[in-house]
């Protein structure tokens, strides 16, 4: 696995960490703490899996932001999916959604009680299921950021061309750049560097962040998700902080181009339009969501079945919103490891395989 292992070399890591230490003390001399936020599930997991936080000096803080689409999905979305399952609609979903608590129970609970729910690795599996079971109504739980959105939209595209009438998508698509905007505007959020997502950026292109970086003057690096990529990304941000720069740097140029994936972007444009969206724990972020255009209403499960995916009543004790904005660290949540564990999660950050609380519980307690 040359293009995997080469990015995990110990000697190279040690060398980069040495440079990071030099830069960190330069930054410290200026009286600054480096507070770097990543907004990408693969970054959260890589940092946890490789123990990267332990390798960094004390004044360099890596904070996990809202990089996990499962984590920011409203309780009402789960409630809607449960409602559909209760009506006999077959629900197909990415695995992570199954254990997310809605207002009262999870999809896994419903499955144990006999509801027709199954896990897909790819949206294409749901299409296959719908073709094989013309007698069933199938709904795919379409959550995701820009990396996943085009793959889910393929369901609508193919169902259309095959005149497949028994499948639709319950959408909760979210966009990363408006979330970055909201974080930068939030006075409670103290971040002076962003590690920008690897594969969302592959789709939207580096140009998607240019306005943001110019307006807010926060150093930002697009980094791959392998551990060496992340370490180099941190090094670049520290260098910028030490030199008072706030630029956008694309360090994942082996995958991310300036304009991103043209086909994916035009597909998104053809089938979806921008709308306001509610981020669990954060609230409504204007223009941060995508919904199916009117002409595709028959594939929009919310319209087809008349269910609402906004709101819901998550557990009042839950601090996921503060964790997602980096206001508290997962370890600082009073429920961490006590009332809230992966086995009995109170909020979605603990459920998703990319959730910052799940990563903390698994890797750093």
């Amino acid at each position: 696995m040359k293009y995997v292992d080469g990015f995990r070399d110990t000697g190279a890591a040690a060398s980069i960490v040495r440079d990071i230490r030099h830069l960190a003390s330069e930054v410290e001399d200026k009286g600054i703490d480096a507070r770097i936020m990543e907004v990408c599930g693969s970054h959260t997991m890589s940092i946890g899996r490789y123990g990267i936080r332990q390798m960094l000096p004390g004044n360099v803080k890596l904070i996990s932001g809202p990089g996990c689409p499962v984590c920011v999905t409203d309780a009402a979305y789960i409630d809607a999916a449960l409602e559909l399952a209760g009506r006999g609609v077959h629900v197909a979903s990415f695995g992570d959604m199954l254990k997310v608590p809605g207002s009262s129970e999870t999809l896994a609970d419903a499955r144990s009680a006999g509801a027709g729910i199954h896990v897909c690795y790819s949206p294409l599996d749901a299409l296959g299921f719908a073709r094989e079971h013309p007698e069933k109504e199938v709904v795919f739980l379409g959550i995701g950021f820009e990396t996943t959105i085009p793959t889910v939209v393929s369901i609508v595209k193919r169902a259309g061309s095959e005149s497949l009438g028994n499948i639709s998508v319950l959408t909760a698509f979210k966009l990363v750049p408006p979330a970055l905007e909201a974080l930068a505007n939030d006075e409670n959020v103290a971040v002076n560097g962003f590690l920008l997502p690897a594969h969302v950026s592959a789709v939207i292109g580096s140009e998607a962040y240019e306005g943001f970086v110019t307006r807010h003057r926060i150093a930002s690096v697009i980094a791959g998700f392998e551990p060496l990529d992340i370490l180099l990304g941190v090094e670049c941000l520290l260098k910028q902080l030490a030199e008072n720069r706030s630029e956008l740097v694309n360090q994942y140029s082996r995958v991310v181009t300036k304009s991103g994936n043209r086909i994916a972007r035009s597909m998104i444009d053809e089938y979806l339009e921008v709308a306001d969206s509610s981020w669990r724990g954060i609230g409504i972020i204007p223009g941060s969501g995508l919904v199916l255009r009117e002409q595709f209403a028959e594939y929009d499960a919310a319209k087809r079945y008349q269910v609402s995916t906004v709101g819901g009543t998550p557990d009042r004790r839950c601090r996921c919103g503060d964790v997602l904005r980096g206001i508290i660290l997962p370890g600082e949540c009073p429920l961490m490891g006590k009332e809230c564990t992966p086995l009995f999660p109170v909020g979605p950050c603990m459920v998703s395989s990319e959730g910052s609380c799940a990563a903390h519980y698994r890797y750093s307690r």
């Binding site: 696995m1 899996r49 123990g51 896994a108 144990s112 551990p227 370490l231 009995f344 519980y361 750093s364």
Partner: protein
């Protein structure tokens, strides 16, 4: 804390959810004291002057036949291995079959032949059994239960209580091969070379290790939940911890590639023909060398060490970081064994 009121798939996963079910329903009723206390792999019992070990396991693997084995082979090895890692020589096995109406006779014959071959190779006799047939749809093709009895090996005295700081952690070979072979077969991934299950009997490995007598502190076979489960359970609430060296943990490169593609952590993946052994520092190299002379032990390696970091299982990662290894949560890979 909200509790699940129905049995979920995760309750059979070998991870935390399984343990919570066992703790709340089984331990409370049967294992507060006596041979079941502490939930050993096999029960140590005394008949007159003889010490025996008694163990049981059920097999619901899907698909029934997979590269490297089948449910029958697993059924023999699984129980024999539980007995072996309890420090005993497996001798006799019972065989109970629950067959779904409609199962092809040719398939049943292949599996029974496989059971016979596995029992000869393992040196055990099938001495009693039972066969039930249920109507179509009431079980998934074939379920097997085996129970077994073995004679305790006198030189071995193993148990969690014997583990001390400084002891070494050994594996008899590459980890996760069985689980990944099942996943690859299920996901219908094509591989240039097939991924084979590692299912085999570990009784010869135990016999070799027994030469080190008191140096051998603890043994277990990492089935459901993988080494993360086994080692995580050992250190939980104890006065010691374990640190693993990621670079020293042996994996089959193909299995790793499949895990990479499916996004699975190899430390959570089941083996069916491997054992973990904790021993005194001066026994480690000797046991590894002895293991490497056997085909089932060619990949033997020292992968870690017992520390005084109470209750924590830590991994030193390949790039020089450190992180915890947690016991897997629920149903990572259903019907793996």
């Amino acid at each position: 804390m909200k509790s699940a009121e129905r049995i979920q798939l995760g309750h059979g996963g070998g991870g935390r959810l399984s343990r919570s079910l066992i703790n709340s329903e089984i331990v409370t009723r049967f294992a507060q004291k006596g041979p079941l206390a502490g939930l050993p792999d096999g029960a140590s019992l005394q008949i007159g002057n003889s010490e025996i070990v008694f163990s049981t396991d059920s097999f619901v693997v899907s698909p029934l036949e997979f590269p490297g084995g089948d449910i029958g082979k697993l059924a023999v090895h699984g129980t024999a291995n539980d007995i072996a890692v309890s420090g005993a020589t497996p001798l006799w096995i019972s065989l109970a079959l629950i067959i779904e109406e409609g199962l092809e006779l040719a398939l049943l014959r292949r599996i029974l032949d496989s059971i016979r071959l596995a029992s000869v190779e393992t040196g055990v006799q099938i001495v009693t059994g039972d066969t039930k047939v249920v109507a179509r749809g009431q079980c998934d093709r074939l379920f097997i239960n085996t129970a077994g009895i073995g004679r305790k090996i006198k030189s071995l005295n193993t148990g969690i209580h014997r583990i001390q700081q400084g002891d070494k952690v050994l594996t008899s070979g590459t980890l996760g091969d069985h689980g990944m072979a099942i996943m690859a077969a299920r996901e219908k991934l094509t591989l240039n070379e097939k991924l084979y299950s590692d299912t085999c009997s570990v009784h010869r490995l135990v016999a070799e290790a027994s030469q080190w007598g008191e140096g051998v502190k603890f043994m277990r076979d990492p089935t459901r939940g993988g080494i993360a489960s086994v080692l995580g359970e050992i250190v939980e609430d104890r006065s010691f911890g374990i640190v693993l060296n990621e670079d020293a943990v042996p994996y089959n490169p193909q299995a790793r590639a499949v895990a990479e593609v499916l996004g699975i952590d190899m430390m959570h993946v089941a083996c069916e023909g491997r054992m973990l052994l904790i021993c005194s520092p001066d026994s480690a190299e000797g046991i590894c060398s002895a293991w490497r002379t056997l085909p089932e032990g060619t990949g033997a390696a020292v992968i870690g060490e017992v520390t005084d970091d109470k209750g924590r299982l830590i991994l030193e990662t390949g790039i020089g970081g450190r992180r915890m290894v947690d016991i897997p949560q629920g149903e990572l890979l259903p019907r793996i064994c």
